[in-house]
Point group: D2
């Protein structure tokens, strides 16, 4: 194990990753570089500096990646109307490739030969971190303490901290939560605790980002989103950056009780798990993006996207962001968005988002053809007869040859 | 045109199809058989008898098809979590194949050589009726008056009625609606009128089946659905027939403002159109079915279904219910449902449906493995290392050969 | 019918399209512009000039499109390993979009408001021509004489020619063929005649482009093809243009009896038809392209391409080359080819093509890992255990819960 | 390691698995049950009995599984026209699930708690054996000696044999081959040796099952295959069992030099490997099955099968035969075959198979419609106009709104 000289750790500043710093130093006798990113999780990242320093870390990276996160990861994913297993908006999945990328870039900058993270051996996140790392730096050594060490209970962990004078902040509110949580600008997730019984309803005080729909305003909120090439560039006419878009939608959505989700999902490692998610802004974006596409995308383009979406979602969920297949799909998706411009008007009310209008300079909606009124010859209804007859021909032949259902 | 002897007409009893009866008699000098079905549209069908008689029709079929509709069409479709273009629950599409089937069966019983319907030449319904008819009776003659006649404006139609003494019921409430509507047990749809402007918000008084979410009860409603082989067999513990299930869910859903939808969709005939839909029960069923599957379906089975769903939806939307490809997909889907048993607990509140619990005797959720607590060896975290390494291998090789993103 | 002023006709110079020139002049009282393209069909195109002049045509376009055809249509299609229904290399289908494009460009140049072609109302080619034309010039008028006129038998056609002094060349060899044929640089096709009985074997003297395998050389021919970004750029080390590549492969392939095919296919218009094809160069290209991809494409990229290929083939077969969905697929396919470089060595022998070697500077084949000998630690066999265990986990859980096959 | 009491070993009787018997006895101190199957590999299986006895094995299973292999595994797979990566007929992959099934059944019969096999840690076969085993008996212990032991070179292996008096048969012809081989009724495969260089041509004396095409008969061989529900039931009019069908086709195909293949494939474990295969009968069956389907399958049924085939092939290649997704796909495929009846006439000649005729009582080929001659009104060419116009509508609208390519 002595072949590691320097390791870059995805460091939150919390107890677990602080223990990992010390454990890496002890176990591998190596230098630890910490990397802490602000992805919009809603917690200060700067305090991680002093904690890392206290642990003897010399190279400390603390970065605000919110814009890059939304611009290069969240937005591209939403261009595909991506949902995993019909429900999940991939809030955790989409943050991992960015962290993996920065871990590797920092490893290259600092001459580190390994990376490390605090994800357990049962989850998807270990896979996402490590697939990204291997794809970007094939010779990197990955250290996953939770798969290696024997600190598998709270007691052994505490004992380890005490023996090594690792400060444990018992007042930390998050630590007292019975749930395992993860947050970034796209969502916050909850697992564990009573959620391990799929029949048990989540407790109201678990939810942190959205108000209970029952306590949301009695009046609906209207919202207008402006799209350019499939991405939101303005809210209610005000242009803003990608991260600001998402922050704003989170705030408005959360205030209207939007984006709560309670599901059982299938992990890549083979088990089912139950999770609860709050994705206020993402829930709004999905609905609105479909609406602007409904007006501006060709039918078969839309259907092709729809048929490939579950696969694209799976690629991301399973951690293959930095893969050739994801890039190929992305090329197709991005190409399809070049006319996805226009405005969507939404109504938010106590937990639900409704589209109430959409318009576009690139609209393919042709009122003169679609109308129930006189269309002045734009469409010849007699064309339909031949259309139907030839579409029916194979079935007519089959039936006339005696084929039955 | 004299080669038609007898034609079976899908007859609603309304003005348009009444005109068609007379027009068929006049134009083809043929006998007309009327067929009126109760599919749960919420209007009496029996009055169609006297109207048909008044028009000189001798063979009159009036049938309650609600159970067959839900059991053999709606339920099979919901086993696939079917949605067209990410939003539409196919309420109109799924009723057409049953009507086509009965039209043909009645044609066979009465010795008719033709069928007719009141759908226009711009829509999907003509396609659905006629593809079904041709698939089931390849030599049948199809008469689509809207594509043939010159009664293309309200005035010419009225004049035609006056000249022929066709009674026009000006007091009919539905006729005064500015919208083109279609209803059955699964949904009611609205098209035309101000909806032809996709930016215009639908007027509140358009909606007929659901209460405005803002006027819905301030307290959530909880509901428990029981599934057997993918179909709902009981609500809150009370077993009921398929049609009763859907009626019940429509009532509860509508009372909670659930199932309104406003979209622009792509028709099979090539144009975009804007439609509003109310599908209270269907909206609940979709959410609940995904929940019971999340617990009982194998991951790859679920993903296979998800990837094929858009195609299955398109097959139905385009009118190919009575096709070999629909049957093949159905075989696969139905097979997948043999363990989809159990209960789903839902919360309905002012327009939204949330899953709050799910349980099953056939659950594949393994708490002992999924737990964040000690799993007593059910899962060896070390397995994850090899799993990740081999999943990464192709990417590592590519990267080591210099491939870049 | 008098609203057409000028029409551009896809003119072969043969009897049928010569009749069409006159028929268009007579029926529409319009000017006819002829367009004759050399797509490598193996017949002189220049003679079409005097024939058109004799018919009074003033604007005559005769063009050599062979390079454009192979570079912009054939090669892009082969990047996808495209085969329709498991057998057909789309030789006819891929030429139509180019003809449609030139028809429309010429219409724009000459101020024509219509285009015309000599394809019948039963086949795929009318669809391909017209979909292309409509996609590129939505207001164009399309005249398809075979669907309009009453010259439906050989006799009426001859009579029409006699009455109008249209010169009929009875010595024309092609006319005496009992088959309907189409040829371009990619293939020659045969339909009709005894082929209308799918049980009847094609006669040996039908085949024109390839020698009977039984008469082919007794010694195999070896060949080396060089690829850059998925396209062949050199044969046996000699760089050549796209059309020259295909011409060369046709010659070598034909001499070795390669590329004959006898199939029943499903037309877009709904019927099955039987066709025989000779595609010597294309057959070699398909085999070789798969070989160079096998070495240079990532596994999942290759599988994604394979899963989408049938759809891409169908898009082209059905005539949707100039559609958004084809372009989207092409974006993905082309992107995947950026490392598809290297050489393939082939053996041709009496009708079959075998790959005997492939090499690439961008090879992803890693001998040090793949070897059966000692791999010096490149691959840790123990990783396989975890890989298998987690891949098996969902099935183990299902089986432990009593699920059976 | 002492927790294994009895292990069932897939035993070939060869050196490697003989060593494994002894190694299992030594290492696990357990009883070994041997299982040797005749899958048509072309070697006597009975000699395995005395070899096993000599190693002290008490429970010895020797079985002829050829009929089950072809009937329940090979034939179902060929119903889907299954090919992996465009080339490979899955000869090895399809045998593994049957062996896994028998290993588990024998474990259940003999009260064994473990199974073992001789596949290495680099290949696909370990995955296929083990996924099958885990799916059928989730609690089984799997022992894969090649991943555990240190006998990784020929020398250490030989030394181990000498020390333990394991008889090594130096006269064994197969052992002297420089290639790693696997054979069953569907194919024989070669890997390793000079094949590890993908540019090196396979030596002629490597091939064992087929004659060199250059040495094959100078006269073609004609063959007639009869299908029932997608499976071959007779050759040249003579009904025979599934295994006899395949044996017969192997003999005829091999004599005509048919079925050689040389590819680079992507293994599930992440690496590329080069393999050569001889699949004489399978190559014929694939071609013939497509031909009978071309006459009897509905177009969209055929296309649906084609689009899903690569996924089905991948499922089998990766070892997921005993999975829910394979069963779902199989349900769909098998359903589609209920009318796949009839005869296919083939011509075999020096390495190639050509279809020269096909006929069926369930043919969907309609000569009266397909004909180039007068069709007496079976098909109205005018229908094509409306068909094309509505298929073009979305593209016309897009173009008229200014969309460009």
């Amino acid at each position: 194990m002595s072949d590691v000289k320097k390791v870059v750790l995805a460091y939150s500043g919390g107890l677990d990753t602080s223990v990992i710093v010390r454990w890496l130093q002890d176990t591998y006798q190596c230098e630890v570089v910490t990397f802490t990113a602000d992805l919009g999780q809603g917690e200060e990242v700067e305090p991680a500096r002093s904690k890392a320093q206290a642990l003897g870390v010399k190279e400390i990276y603390i970065e605000d990646l919110r814009e890059e996160f939304v611009r290069d990861f969240v937005f591209p994913m939403f261009r595909a109307n991506t949902i995993y297993e019909g429900e999940y908006l991939l809030g955790t999945s989409i943050a991992r490739p960015l962290i993996a990328k920065r871990l590797i870039e920092i490893a290259n900058e600092t001459g580190a030969d390994a990376i490390s993270h605090g994800a357990t051996g049962k989850g998807n996140d270990q896979v996402r971190f490590e697939l990204g790392a291997y794809a970007l730096k094939p010779g990197v050594k990955v250290i996953a303490p939770w798969r290696e060490w024997d600190l598998t209970s709270r007691e052994t962990l505490m004992k380890y901290c005490e023996e090594r004078n690792i400060p444990v902040d018992f007042s930390n509110k998050k630590k007292k939560s019975p749930y395992s949580m993860d947050a970034n600008l796209l969502h916050i997730s909850y697992e564990g605790g009573i959620l391990e019984d799929p029949w048990a309803e989540a407790e109201e005080d678990m939810w942190r980002w959205s108000i209970n729909p029952e306590a949301a305003p009695d009046q609906p909120t209207y919202l207008e989103l402006t799209y350019e090439k499939g991405d939101i560039v303005a809210i209610d006419g005000e242009r803003m950056s990608p991260a600001t878009v998402l922050e704003t939608l989170n705030k408005i959505g959360g205030a209207n009780g939007i984006g709560r989700l309670d599901i059982v999902e299938n992990r890549f490692v083979g088990m089912k798990s139950r999770g609860c998610y709050e994705t206020p802004g993402g829930t709004i974006m999905l609905k609105a993006h479909r609406a602007i596409e409904s007006l501006t995308l060709d039918r078969e383009a839309a259907h092709l996207k729809d048929e490939l979406m579950p696969r694209y979602a799976k690629v991301i969920y399973n951690g293959f962001w930095w893969s050739e297949e994801r890039k190929m799909l992305q090329e197709m998706i991005d190409y399809s968005q070049r006319h996805v411009n226009g405005d969507v008007r939404l109504k938010l009310y106590k937990g639900s988002v409704s589209v109430v209008g959409r318009r576009s300079p690139d609209s393919l909606f042709d009122e003169s053809i679609a109308t129930f009124e006189d269309d002045a010859g734009s469409y010849d209804q007699k064309d339909a007869e031949g259309f139907i007859k030839l579409n029916a021909l194979r079935m007519r032949i089959a039936a006339s040859k005696g084929r039955k259902f």
